[in-house]
């Protein structure tokens, strides 16, 4: 491989990785934008999403790498699995909000954040017990097609990840910017009290933010499973911390910022592994987290935090 082909290949690797981080980062950002709450349960919703997708795909008779599907049936199966996963993860997010966070809504301080850490551990341990902590072979129904362009290999899977992530992210952005509910969301983010006085149902808006964020985490979980072909109770933690870094880097509360942050973190991870060494990836990524917090706390694209004066 030539130097430029290697560089391009690592960019492709990085964008695929970044797409998963970006989908996850969006959930952090949505909830933070509205409640000023860092939702650590998000890690585990992502992980549960991967397992929901696993169960759905196995219900279609797909086991490990044994079954390969093509054309319309493949698209249909993946679509059904994606919808089920997103709805189930979204419902889980709503349940977490309704039963553990809403009672704390008006409590000042880090109580709610600590609650989310607790919820995260509960989910984490439930899955750990259910799976006996094993890594599970994730079904891989997609044909192993790949395209070679001058030494660079692009796999069908990667193209699929990009398309699905792009559609979901653009969809979310349009939802927040163009719809009435999106407007209500932005209103609540700016000033919940005033929004309530203008007739916005704040509880409803918060619930929708949790649903959307968690559904995206579920989608990220399924994409993760299809791409890496395994699911394990511990996947949420590593990916989640990096996604959180992405959200902070892009400007927490800022939707396009989360996407940009995700891609940037993905690229840093792969290019860092290529030109420095894989063992330094974590050091670099979390130095960026600290650096951003110290030197540019609003992130690359600026924070859309509630502005209560």
């Amino acid at each position: 491989m030539t130097g430029s082909a290697i560089f391009l290949q690592q960019i492709i690797n990085g964008v695929s990785l970044g797409a998963v981080y970006a989908l996850l980062a969006l959930g952090f950002t949505l909830v933070y934008g509205i409640l000023e709450l860092i939702n650590f349960a998000h890690f585990s919703v992502f992980m549960v999403g991967a397992f929901v997708a696993l169960v759905v795909l196995e219900a279609f008779g797909l086991q490990g790498q044994s079954v390969v599907m093509h054309g319309a049936p493949l698209v249909l199966v993946l679509l059904v699995a994606l919808v089920v996963t997103m709805v189930a993860s979204g419902a889980l997010g709503v349940a977490i909000e309704r039963y553990t966070l809403r009672p704390m809504r008006n409590v000042k301080g880090p109580m709610a954040m600590i609650t989310t850490i607790g919820v995260s551990y509960i989910l984490f341990n439930l899955v750990l017990l259910a799976t006996n902590a094993q890594a599970i072979n994730f079904p891989d129904p997609m044909p192993q097609a790949s395209y070679h362009v001058g030494g660079v290999v692009i796999r069908l899977k990667e193209i699929l990840i990009w398309i699905v992530s792009a559609v979901l992210m653009i969809g979310l952005n349009l939802f927040v910017k163009r719809t009435k509910l999106g407007k209500a969301m932005r209103a609540v983010a700016q000033d919940a009290e005033a929004a309530r006085m203008m007739g916005v149902d704040v509880d409803n808006v918060v619930m929708i933010a949790f649903f959307a964020g968690s559904a995206l985490a579920g989608a990220a979980g399924m994409i993760f499973g299809l791409y890496y072909n395994f699911a394990q109770y511990s996947i949420g933690y590593t990916a989640g911390l990096r996604a959180f870094t992405a959200a902070v880097l892009g400007g927490i509360g800022n939707v396009p910022g989360a996407m940009l942050g995700g891609i940037v973190i993905g690229l840093i991870e792969t290019l860092g592994s290529q030109y420095i060494a894989a063992r330094w990836a974590d050091v670099i990524i979390f130095s960026i987290l600290i650096g951003t917090l110290v030197f540019r706390p609003a992130g690359l694209l600026g924070m859309l935090a509630p502005n209560r004066s």
Binding site: M1, I6, Q9, Q10, N13, G14, S16, L17, G64, Q65, F124, N125, L128, N132, A133, Q134, A135, I136, N137, V153, R155, F224, Y228, N229, F230, Q232, Y233, S234, I235, Y237, T238, A239, E269, T270, L271, G272, S273, Q274, A277, A278, R279, A281, D282
Partner: protein
């Protein structure tokens, strides 16, 4: 043993081996009125997702705190062994490991760290990575005849040591070591480092480590560098290679074992039948070394009883040092550091057998032979 988590299946095979030996000793009455009671401790934790040295240390303290514990069989992993050895050493409690292979544990150079009590307490019924890594490098050079290699490890005590030992001997044998990097076992994506390996045009890959990183490495290397020769140590000679990593990705991987391959030996057929009848799974070679490790402990306890000395951990340790028995794998005795006197490294290759159960190691891999000893 890490009885839950990434290495659980392999750990259970080992545990069963020791339990079987204890069961047979008890039912035969050879210990004259004494019934051995196995105490099984798990050293895997949820935070680590695999074996956790901190938990292993806690377990070691539990063992030395219990006067009724005469000897220990285990641990499976060297990372756990390094945490346990100093604690066991201070209490003079012998442990006989059926599978942990990091040389440092018994290396006199590190005696201050791992044998602060002075007398060896870490005995092995397998040989060490001082042979497993280099012998595999010989195999790469002489049998596979690869011109170059890229060496990875999983950041653990076992993996780093094994990979270092391999890389050093590979250089001696004239294999070009194109790179040496470390994987984070909890990360999911190794495509970057694999792309880097692809870019070096390396003819082969060697991985020192256990299954948590291997599951992802095996899957992703199949995508990115499908055609190069790939291999590792005993950490990947595990059912998870088929059940979690899966075929076709696992196909063609080489793995070694730090013990002779005797599971298929016709002389052992009745033992294998008994094991699989009792536990419902096929044993692997480390189930045999684990059975042998328990035999060593039992023989030592017998020797202490015979000598009329009080039955204490310290007396049992002294007896272990001088044990000479015929185990399932052959004659077993220890050198003055606690290492097994015979040194055999067996090489296997994963090869799918669609007719056999996926988790059946013996059927899903073929025995290549004994790696050349230098």
């Amino acid at each position: 043993m890490p009885l839950t988590g990434a290495d659980a299946e392999a750990a259970h095979l080992i545990l069963n081996g020791a339990l079987l030996a204890i069961k047979l000793a008890n039912s035969s009455g050879e210990l004259k009125g004494i019934t051995l009671e196995p105490m099984v401790l798990n050293n895997a934790t949820a935070t680590a997702g695999q074996y956790d040295p901190a938990q292993a240390a806690t377990n070691a303290r539990k063992l030395v705190g219990d006067k009724k514990v005469l000897a220990n069989v285990g641990p499976e992993m060297s990372g756990s062994g390094k945490a346990m050895a100093p604690i066991l050493s201070m209490a003079d409690l012998a442990t006989i490991t059926p599978s942990s292979t990091a040389p440092a544990l018994t290396d006199p150079q590190f005696a201050g760290e791992f044998v602060p009590g002075g007398k060896p307490i870490y005995f092995r019924t397998v040989t060490t990575d001082a042979y497993q890594g280099p012998n595999m490098a010989n195999f790469y050079a002489e049998t596979l005849k690869v011109p170059s290699v890229y060496v990875l490890d999983d950041s653990g005590a076992y993996g780093v040591g094994l990979a270092d030992a391999f890389a050093a001997q590979a250089k001696v044998k004239g294999i070009k070591v194109l790179g040496r990097d470390r994987l984070d076992p909890k990360a999911a994506d190794y495509s970057a480092v694999l792309t880097k390996i692809k870019a070096t045009n390396a003819a082969s890959l060697y991985y020192g480590g256990t299954m948590q990183a291997a599951v992802k490495l095996v899957k992703q290397s199949y995508q990115i560098v499908p055609d190069i020769k790939k291999g590792g140590g005993d950490g990947i000679l595990s059912p998870e290679m088929m059940t979690a990593a899966g075929f076709p990705a696992a196909e063609g991987w080489y793995a070694t074992n730090a013990s002779p391959h005797v599971v298929d030996d016709p002389k052992l057929a009745s033992w294998v039948a008994l094991y699989s009848k009792t536990y419902g799974v096929q044993p692997d070679d480390y189930a045999i070394t684990s059975y042998d490790a328990a035999l060593v402990a039992i023989a030592a306890i017998k020797a202490v009883i015979k000598s009329g000395k009080p039955l204490t951990a310290s007396n049992v340790r002294n007896a272990v040092q001088t044990v000479k028995i015929n185990g399932l794998q052959g004659p077993i005795s220890f050198d003055k550091y606690g290492d097994l006197s015979t040194r055999v490294v067996a090489v296997f290759q994963f090869k799918q057998n669609k007719a056999a159960p996926l988790a059946d190691m013996d059927k899903q891999s073929i025995y290549i032979g004994v790696a050349p000893q230098s």
